[in-house]
Every structure is written in C-alpha cells, then in structure tokens.
C-alpha cells in the first residue's frame, strides 16, 4: 500500500470511530503543526475533527519579559549572544527585534548547535558568550550537556539564559481553563522521546485522552484513531502511537543530565502567564553558567499592550485568522507576535499553508 491509500483507509476508520460525534484535538509540537498543514492532512480531516495548535513552538511561548531580557543582555559591552536563528526576528516589547539590535551594533551570532556557542566562547576569551536557552524537554538535555562540557573545559566566559519550558504543566493549565474545550491531545513526538508517558498520567484525572504521535501523515492519523476510539469507548487513554521512536519510559540518561544541571521552577508563558513548576532554571551548583545569576537579571511580567491575541491562539480559543492583526499588520515578513515569526508557529503555518 502506498502512503495515499494508507491515509485513505485511516481516514475512513477515523470517520467510523467518530460516528457522527465531534473531536477537538490539540497538538503541542511545532513539527506536528507544520506536518498537518504541509502534508495537506488538514484539508482531509473529517468534518467532525477540529485541529488546534497549542503552545508547542518554543519561540511562540517565549514571554515578552523574557525577550526583554535578551535586549538587556545584548546591551552589555563584552557580551556575545549566541542563539538559534528563529529568535532573531522576534519583536521585543519596543517592536524591535534582535536583528535590529544586531544592525545597531549588538554582537549576536546564529549557531546551529549549542556546542558552537562553547566554541565561540573559546575563540573570544575576553568576551562573555551567553547562549539563549529557549526550548522544551527536547533541547534541555543538550543544553545541560553543553554546560557540563564548558565546565570540563574550565571556561569561565560561557553561560546560558535558561528559559526552558516543560510540556506537561502547560497541558494541565489548558485543561483547568474551561474556555479551551479540548477533547484530546496529540502528544509531542520529540518531547516524549525524553520524558516518556508517565508525566502525562494526570490527563486521566481530566478524562481527556492523550496519544503520542509521529510526524508522517499516517502516524498522525493513527494517533487520531486511537484518540477517537478511546473517546468512543470511554477509556482514559495515555498511549503511544509512535513506538518506533518513543520508548514508554522515555530516555532516562537524558533526564538525568537535565536533572543534574537544571531545577524545576515557575515560568512565564506568552499569552498564558506564570505557570508553577513549568520551567527549568540552572541549579546553584552551576550558578557560574547561569546568565541570570551572572547579570542579576530579573524576569518580571509586565502589562501587555499589544493587540496581538496570541494567548488565545496558543490556547486554542481562537484560530489565527480570528486575530485582527492576522495577515494585515502581522505577516511573516513583518511579524507582531512570535507565532508569526517561527516557521513552526501556528499563525505562520496558517498564513503560509491556508492563506489569509
């Protein structure tokens, strides 16, 4: 069977399982967002299915106050910011992005791997290299390993601004908000390779099924079928439809690296606010690699003035096209909110694949 016929038969099965009912499912992974749009799967889903893109793109959930901290760091003399490329275009509170800051003289380097940032520190011994640690459980172990590498090398001019966020706590926050009306979660493939299934067990208390899915259209459909079946049968399922990549137990070695370097703390999420125990800060024992400690940064929530409704987009309460800025004042070329910046952001995906 080719991909098209596999998808057709899974779609037929999904239709049967739904039996006329509806299901609002949310994915919380930028790669899922793009896969669903890009493959055209979205246009083929049964009419009873509503696809919501949740807070699954690391750039999109980065809070204004966190972005403000980037600029505070960039303003220091003898500081080189090292970052993955997609943070460069995110507009800060003043409307300017790091790209602007760089044009005005701030030293900002794009890296492909956090180890490149360590290399940058070695090559620039009289400067301090600050790596912008934005990401979920997927990226955190690599950053932890990078800090351990810097320690082993005895580098005293390398540190990380850790803004890592954790997926399970934000799922709980979404479910606690009655406006979100989420029937089921397509759980993230990459994050789950690290954390496994156990951290999602609380979904059972909410009677909302969650299934980890892969990224091919057939993988996604398989997970959706499992979700629809669980709902039909009234089973509180936390399942894994992506066993070829995700072990139910996750990756204990990666987790122990994370636990060695990071500690769980509260975090600010764009459009959602402070969520207890949803972030990773650097442990005191590694304080010399913690940019917040080194530069006495405080990241505090400020009043939001923008008309950008990404909070409602990220929580699935409105679709990107329902935001008044979408496609007019906010486009991938001139983004207002980070959901339009990252190629994996839900607004950018809507704009690119579904049009204005």
């Amino acid at each position: 069977m080719n991909e098209q016929s596999i998808c057709r038969s899974l779609l037929a099965e999904l239709e049967t399982l739904l039996a006329g009912t509806s299901m609002r499912f949310m994915e919380v992974c930028g790669t899922h967002t793009v896969a669903i749009f890009r493959s055209g799967l979205r246009s083929m889903l049964p009419s009873g299915i509503t696809h919501l893109s949740g807070p699954g793109c690391p750039v999109c959930v980065t809070h204004d106050a966190e972005i403000a901290a980037f600029f505070e760091l960039a303003a220091h003399e003898n500081v080189i910011l090292a970052t993955f490329g997609d943070l460069l275009r995110v507009p800060g509170p003043s409307g300017k992005s790091l790209k602007h800051a760089r044009a005005e003289g701030a030293r900002i380097e794009i890296v492909y791997s956090p180890l490149d940032a360590v290399e940058l520190a070695r090559k620039n011994p009289s400067d301090t290299v600050v790596f912008l640690g934005v990401g979920f459980e997927t990226t955190a172990p690599t950053i932890a390993a990078t800090i351990l590498t810097a320690e082993r090398l005895g580098l005293d001019n390398f540190c990380v601004l850790s803004l890592h966020k954790l997926v399970p706590p934000v799922l709980r926050t979404l479910l606690d908000n009655p406006e979100t009306r989420i029937d089921a979660f397509l759980l993230p493939g990459h994050v789950s390779t690290i954390i496994g299934l156990e951290p999602y067990a609380f979904l059972r208390d909410y009677h909302v099924p969650g299934v980890v899915g892969g990224f091919e259209p057939a993988d996604i459909l398989l997970a959706l079928c499992q979700l629809a079946r669980a709902r039909r049968d009234g089973v509180d399922l936390v399942g894994n439809a992506y066993p070829r990549a995700v072990d139910d137990a996750g990756n204990p070695r990666a987790r122990s690296l994370m636990e060695q370097v990071f500690t769980v703390e509260d975090a600010l999420w764009r459009g959602i606010g402070r969520i207890p125990g949803s972030g990773l800060g650097i442990r005191d024992s590694y304080a010399s690699f913690d940019a917040r400690a080194r530069f006495s940064l405080t990241i505090t929530e400020q009043k939001k003035k923008s008309a950008c409704r990404c909070g409602e987009v990220l929580t699935g309460r409105i679709a990107p096209k329902d935001c008044p800025l979408f496609g007019t004042r906010c486009t991938p070329r001139n983004p207002v909110g980070p959901c339009m910046v990252s190629t994996e952001g839900s607004c950018a995906a809507w704009f690119k694949y579904a049009g204005v």
Partner: protein
C-alpha cells in the same frame, strides 16, 4: 597584471566579433525583434559540484533571454576582480564561461575588467548582458497563462540551491547533489518552433513555488500543482528534510516552467524530453479559473494546501 588578464579573456573567448578589439562590437543587422537581459553574478564558493560562477554567468543570462522566446546570440561580460585573486582561479572561471558559451551557441563579443583593492569585492563579480532574436509573433510572457493550460517543468528542482547551501555549511552528507546549471536555449527554441507556448519562466531564486506565484498573479489565474508530479531527486529530498528546507523554494539554474494549451501538453513534453536538459520533464499541473492569484498544491496523500510565496530567508530553527 592587466595584460595577463586581457590575454586570458581574448584567448578563451576568441571569435571574429571580439577579436577586432574595437571599443564596441559591431553586430550584423537582424530583421527580427530583439530581447535583451542583464544580470550580476556573485556566489560563494566560486566553484561547486555541477558548475561555477562562470557557468552561472553564461547560463543565467542565456536562460533569461530564452524565456522571452528568443535565441540568445551575443553576450557581454564585465568582471570586477579583487586584488590578489589567483590567476589560476580566474583562468578556470573564464574557461568555464567559454565552454558554457560554446555549448549554448552564444558569442561573448565585448567585455571589461576592473581590478579593485583587496576587500572591495569578494574575489570575483561578473555581469553579463545577453541579446537574442525573438522567434515568434507572440512571445511567451508571465501574463499569458489561461484556464485550461497545462503546466510543465523541464526537470528536477532544488539541486542548485541545496548544492550551494551544502557547500557553504560544509555538510558532508550532501555528497551526491550537484547544481543543475545548464543552458535552456536549445530546449526553448525547439518548443517555440512547434508548440504555442504561453509562458516560459526559469525558477531561479525563490524556486518553483515563488515563480508559480508570480505567474498566477501576473496572469490573474489559479494554478494547481500535483506534488507527486514535481521531480525532486532523492538526494535533494533527503538533504532538504535534514535541513528543514523545502525543495520547491530552492533556486534552480537550469530548469524552466513551460505553460502551453492543455491540448499541446503531450507534444511539448515529448519535445522537452528529447533535449539533454529536459530528460526528466513532467506535466506538473494545470491553470484554473478558481482562486486567481493563488497556487494550490495537491499533496502526495491527496489533500491540498496553499503553495505560498517565500517569506524572507529561511533560518535554522530550534527543533
């Protein structure tokens, strides 16, 4: 230095029109309308699998002239060289240009060279201008796509863009990709003789997706493309998937989009496949009345989505 340089050009490009060495080339009168196009070339690295800045400087301009339904006849070539450029590098570039011009059947009839201080240019910049004779009454144009037309593509997409990116990033996995740098004048000339061609465009920067969008908006029509039908080499597909790139947005340097009446599609396809640079040609879609200005992609699994214009440079992403 200057003498060495001009010696190098004269030998490589020699032809009766250039060899007179007057201030300008004296071109014979032609009875037909002329097409003219100019382009500046700068690329890092200068040499890459499948081509060089020299082949690009000839093929790029030859192809632009060809897209107007013209047979390219003459090229001018102006060089800006950075002081310190190795002579051997210059010879290689110039020989590539001479070879590419011979294959394309054009003559380089006039030229200029300037050497600038170190740091004022990046090794070598080339500007070429091409002149060609227009073959048909109604030359192809981006405005002429109409409902019922078929959309053809002369071969695989993404090869050039991925090759350059892989070279710049030093990606060792992309060993079997090479640029498609090639002249399309032969293929286009034969097509125009036998088929009523509405649109001819080469999807260079911005790739197939961006060029199709330009045509859709110029002609105020919708375009439907079947993803399955667009030829993409397996090595390009896997390289793109690794780097998070989309081959439909990557530059090509030896491919053209051909739009003809639906009834002429099969004949056009056969003509394209006869050409050495059109062996993998395919019918990839059709022109519609619906959704004017938009390009819709029918995906491999049978769904559909918008194939939109490229927005800004693609940046490496977080996960």
């Amino acid at each position: 230095m200057q003498e060495l340089v001009s010696d190098c050009f004269r030998k490589a490009f020699s032809n009766p029109l250039l060899d007179t060495l007057d201030d300008a080339a004296l071109l014979p009168a032609v009875g037909r309308r002329l097409a003219m196009s100019t382009d500046g070339y700068t690329v890092t690295p200068l040499f890459f699998p499948g081509g060089s800045i020299g082949t690009l400087a000839v093929h790029g301009t030859v192809n632009d002239v060809s897209m107007l339904g013209a047979v390219p006849r003459y090229l001018s070539a102006a060089f800006i060289l950075e002081e310190g450029l190795e002579l051997e590098t210059l010879y290689r570039v110039v020989n590539d240009m001479a070879q590419a011009a011979r294959t394309a059947g054009v003559r380089i009839v006039t030229g200029d060279t300037k050497v600038v201080p170190k740091g004022f240019a990046d090794k070598i910049f080339i500007t070429t201008t091409g002149i060609g004779e227009i073959l048909v009454e109604d030359p192809p144009s981006g405005h002429r796509a109409g409902p019922g037309d078929a959309v053809l593509l002369s071969g695989s997409v993404g090869d050039h863009g991925l090759t350059i990116m892989a070279q710049r990033e030093g990606l060792s996995f992309a060993t079997d990709v090479e640029s498609d740098s090639a002249p399309l004048c032969g293929l286009c000339g034969r097509l125009l003789e036998r088929v009523p061609v509405h649109v001819l465009r080469d999807p260079t920067r911005g790739g197939l997706a961006s060029t199709l969008n330009e045509i859709a908006s110029q002609s105020r029509v919708g375009i439907r493309i079947r993803e399955d039908a667009v030829p993409v080499h397996e090595s390009v597909r896997s390289g793109c998937s690794f780097m998070g790139l989309d081959p439909l947005y990557l530059a090509n340097e030896g491919k053209c989009i051909v739009i003809v009446p639906g009834a002429s599609a099969e004949e056009a396809l056969a003509i394209m496949r006869e050409d050495p640079f059109g062996r993998e040609a395919a019918v990839i879609g059709s022109v519609t009345e619906e959704q004017p200005g938009r390009v819709v992609l029918e995906t491999a699994i049978g769904g559909e989505r918008l194939l939109s214009l490229l927005e800004g440079a693609e940046l490496p992403r977080i996960c």
